[in-house]
């Protein structure tokens, strides 16, 4: 069983997220094609630029596992129908404020 994410149209602003292959931590692709654990450093993209970045991410397997598009606003805030899921990924479980990045666990 695998998790399938909704398809996003080319004009929808998006970031690329995945998991640090070594630690499993949630990470985001930055403008300089590095990976950051901070959503605020995620690169916001659309169209061909986004597709090209996802191709790059998919080959960067030593650093990232299972990269995919997540919907964001132009300002890089989480949006769309997976807002709750991505907020939980970005912050941590809602039942435990000390777990995940919300607890300073970077």
């Amino acid at each position: 069983m695998s998790s399938e994410r909704p398809k996003l149209g080319p004009d929808i602003p998006k970031a690329i997220t995945g998991w640090n292959s070594r630690t499993g931590r949630v990470i985001y692709l930055t403008a300089d094609r590095n990976w950051s654990e901070s959503l605020s450093e995620a690169c916001v993209m659309t169209g061909d630029e986004a597709q090209e970045a996802l191709r790059f991410a998919s080959t960067d397997q030593v650093r990232v596992s299972d990269p995919y598009f997540m919907q964001v606003t132009q300002d890089g805030l989480i949006s769309g129908r997976e807002t709750l899921r991505e907020t939980i990924r970005a912050r941590g479980p809602t039942n435990h404020p000390m777990f995940g990045k919300q607890g300073g666990d970077l």
Partner: protein, 553 residues
């Protein structure tokens, strides 16, 4: 309990070494995730929302003090000082780094544990009755048979690449506390007309997106023939089970498509066609060898009642209430089994901290012969406790925050980790469970309601067994918003039934008030205080409860 011999230990260590190499190749970029994923899954390693998750096998839910302390050590050294007990009697760690996994598997092997058969399309960890060997109603202890099936199925070359995962549960007869009718194969120890003990074989049960209650394919099979008969079923499934669509690949779909009679015919033909030389006929000496590991402890010649316990109940109301819900009868007079609830108000159902694990290990070693079980309800069981010792056990559990008096009650909720942790979930489960616990936190109200099983899943994969809760709750995603469907009338026992969806989903914040109305309606409608929720529901049907759920007068 069963102790690993040199063969078992060699196998587990070999697998740990093999996985170490696979992880090294993955992290060096020599193994792409696509190829690594099935390998990590075969070792119980999932990639969840926040981190890698390791599922550790607890064969048929049996632990001892040393193993539980070992798990506590894993929680302390590699995770966040807690573990999550699952509906398949395993334990999951939610925050382990991939680079630490090889060391964790090595450490698990040190105390005779592993993650084999916890994932992948193989025969999974066999589950059983957490009261096995203690229940007064059982025909025979099912654990030796769980262990025999474990040894037969582990790395079985013919059944390592099945169409889908495969789950077997074994019950000792009597009341079904292992949910055997909603497993791919359920085995129930029973006597035939000559009084000989063998197995009823039930097949094709399961939950998930296509729930089914299993059907009896064989009324009775003898012990020596059990493995051959299981092989016949597995071969039919391997040959005819669908591999083109993972949603239709479980054996329940095959049984449903062929029909009960058609499936049985194929199995019986396969069983009859087995050549004598290929049959796995268990010699009695081997059965005896395995059974010896599960010999009952030496019980004291205790009185059937305990003055110490009775006197303590009279003076301590909290002990008395806890005893009513969490102390269960034992087949030996003067003894009891104790359900240790992992469902305190406001905590994730099934979680235990490492300190609590050590406390339970100490209590088990001192008062219960070191025998600890994991229940599919995500609670723990201390199997053999002298009635005289129950007050001391209660005090020790209280000190560890483990004396929640809600065994079998509405706040003893089964819940999957849901969207807070799981990569497949559509909605949160833990927060819904906690809101329901809060709504029913008045002990007097809980006592008034009595036995009511409430199960919650955060998606259709049904790890929280929502289909078989008296009340089931399924989290769904509706255009990006969490909604929760309510099901009525499920049950996981010998009268197993799949609950029916009551109607449209409710919002997160509306679930607890809606269930409050349902329960209030039950309290009005029941024929007597002894009539449980499920009995009233079965007598009256869904309608009055559906009305209450949606707020109709």
């Amino acid at each position: 309990m069963y102790r690993y011999d040199e063969f078992d230990e060699g196998l587990v260590r070999q697998r740990a070494r093999q996985f170490r190499g696979q992880v090294e190749r993955r992290l060096a970029g020599e193994l792409p995730e696509e190829h690594f994923k099935p390998l990590r899954l075969q070792n119980g390693v999932y990639l969840q929302l926040h981190a890698y998750m390791l599922r550790v096998a607890i064969p048929y839910g049996q632990l001892d003090g040393a193993k539980l302390r070992g798990l506590a050590e894993i929680a302390d050294r590699y995770d966040k000082r807690y573990g999550h007990f699952t509906t398949r009697q395993n334990i999951q760690f939610n925050w382990i780094r991939l680079e630490d996994m090889p060391e964790v598997l090595d450490r698990l092997a040190d105390f005779g544990m592993h993650a084999i058969q916890t994932s992948g399309n193989c025969i999974r960890n066999v589950t059983s009755d957490p009261f096995a060997g203690a229940g007064a109603d059982e025909v025979e202890d099912p654990r030796p048979w769980c262990e025999i099936i474990r040894q037969w199925s582990t790395f079985h070359p013919e059944f390592s690449h099945l169409p889908r995962k495969f789950k077997i549960a074994v019950s000792g007869g009597g009341h079904d506390r292992a949910a055997i009718r909603v497993h791919d194969i359920g085995l129930d120890l029973k006597r035939n007309s000559e009084g000989e003990i063998g197995f009823e074989v039930i097949c094709g049960g399961g939950l998930g997106r296509t729930p089914h209650v299993g059907v009896t394919v064989r009324e009775w099979i003898s012990k020596p023939d059990l493995l051959s008969y299981l092989e016949a079923i597995m071969r039919v499934y391997n040959r005819h089970g669908r591999r083109d669509n993972k949603y239709k690949a479980r054996i329940k779909i095959l049984v449903n498509e062929l029909g009960e009679a058609g499936f049985r015919k194929l199995v019986e033909e396969e069983f009859a066609a087995q050549h004598e030389s290929e049959k796995v006929v268990l010699p009695q000496t081997e059965i005896n060898r395995i059974e010896a590991y599960f010999a009952p402890p030496v019980f004291d010649a205790a009185l059937p009642t305990s003055e110490i316990f009775d006197a303590a109940r009279k003076t301590d109301k909290s002990l008395d209430r806890w005893a009513r819900h969490n102390v269960r009868p034992h087949k030996i007079p003067g003894y009891a089994s104790i359900l240790v609830s992992l469902k305190p108000l406001g905590a994730p159902p099934g979680d235990a901290t490492s300190d609590q694990m050590r406390a339970i290990a100490d209590i088990a070693d001192r008062y219960a012969g070191g025998d600890i079980r994991v229940a599919h309800e995500q609670d723990l069981v201390l199997t053999h406790v002298r009635l005289d010792d129950v007050p001391s056990v209660f005090a020790a559990l209280q000190a560890a925050g483990l004396a929640t008096a809600n065994g079998g009650l509405i706040t003893d909720i089964i819940a999957c980790p849901g969207l807070d942790y799981c990569n497949l979930a559509n909605a949160r489960s833990i927060s819904v469970a906690n809101s329901i616990q809060e709504a029913f936190s008045d002990p007097n109200l809980e006592d008034l309601i009595g036995r009511l099983h409430l199960n919650i899943s955060g998606c259709i994969n049904a790890c929280g067994h929502h289909h078989v809760g008296h009340i089931g709750i399924l989290g769904v995603d509706k255009k990006g918003e969490e909604f929760y469907q309510v099901l009525f009338g499920g049950r996981a026992d010998e009268r197993a039934a799949i609950g029916e969806i009551a109607g449209p989903g409710l919002r997160h914040e509306d679930i607890a008030p809606a269930l409050k109305r349902v329960v209030e309606r039950y309290l009005v409608l029941r024929s007597s205080p002894e009539e449980t929720f499920i009995d009233t529901l079965e007598r009256l049907g869904q309608a009055p409860f559906r009305e209450a759920l949606y707020g109709a007068s």
